[in-house]
Subunit: 100 residues, 4 copies
């Protein structure tokens, strides 16, 4: 099933700056083959729901294997059957003047 | 990997009252075999991360099959490698006087 | 305006265990006079929306003053004009067998 | 206090398409004077925490006054005392190649 989602990863126990671990999570998302759009509060993705969910699992597996002791992830998932939806459409529908 | 999570499902396009669809999502979560705790803003679960993620996917598949045109789901996932954690421990750690 | 909400506070830069700071945030919420229900993924509250929002601000002000270098807070807010809603009603509507 | 935040508004009971109401919420955020960045899962803002919280309250007040029967809003708030942070810095820190 096609889905849009937002994935935000908060590493805990690695200090006040979490930039390196968040960059790594973003890299894992990009490696998934999903369409991605990074923003200041997470990475938006577009693609198959199962692939999105597997990617979330992979972030936890890999980041823990690489030494992060604790992770808090927030995922928002949107699916609909009435029409196809894309990340770009959502932005353009809200602010037509925006260059996505 | 063991995880704690919160799953909140918001059905869209079924009217102002979404109780029946949210009840159905909660039932799917209970059928997963995960340990569950319902509260006013979602269902907290404890168990295997892959099972949690599969359950989220199943909610979308089943609710759409049952006629819900649009779903917005918010999932929070917590994992840690430094110690085992349970839903009950988290509550008792914050408010020892609480009967979880 | 009457609202229901969930407040989850994630302290960053205080180590892997964040229990003390989360307990403090929960205490600030209880001191607000709002009706509260603690669970493993946050504190649900019921009351005036302005009071809820002020309480969120107070958590950030006080925890920083008490030494927490970084905070990531997630708040979910629900309001409706078609009927009155309570934390207890939401739970009972989903699982009538539950003792809230 | 300076804060970064993400505001996502989900109108309920207005049908499957919520575009008009989400556009209105985004407009209210822009009218706040906060620095804003729209994306597919919400509007990121940068500015004074009290202004951010007041803006969330105003969205609920105005959208209900304009006929939306139910609103579910998700707000993520980030504050830190160790350094100044901007929406643009967060994105550049994660993906230096990105044109924010």
């Amino acid at each position: 099933m096609k889905a849009l989602a937002e994935i935000q990863v908060i590493p805990i126990g690695v200090g006040t700056s979490v930039r390196g671990q968040v960059r790594r999570a973003h890299q894992i998302i990009r490696d998934s083959g999903l369409k991605v759009q990074l923003h200041a509060y997470g990475t938006n993705v577009e693609g198959d729901l199962d692939t999105i969910l597997e990617t979330v699992g992979r972030i936890h597996t890999l980041l823990h294997a690489e030494g992060v002791p604790r992770l808090s992830t927030a995922v928002k998932i949107g699916t609909r059957t009435d029409k196809d939806s894309t990340l770009e459409d959502k932005v353009l529908g809200i602010a037509p003047e925006t260059q996505g």
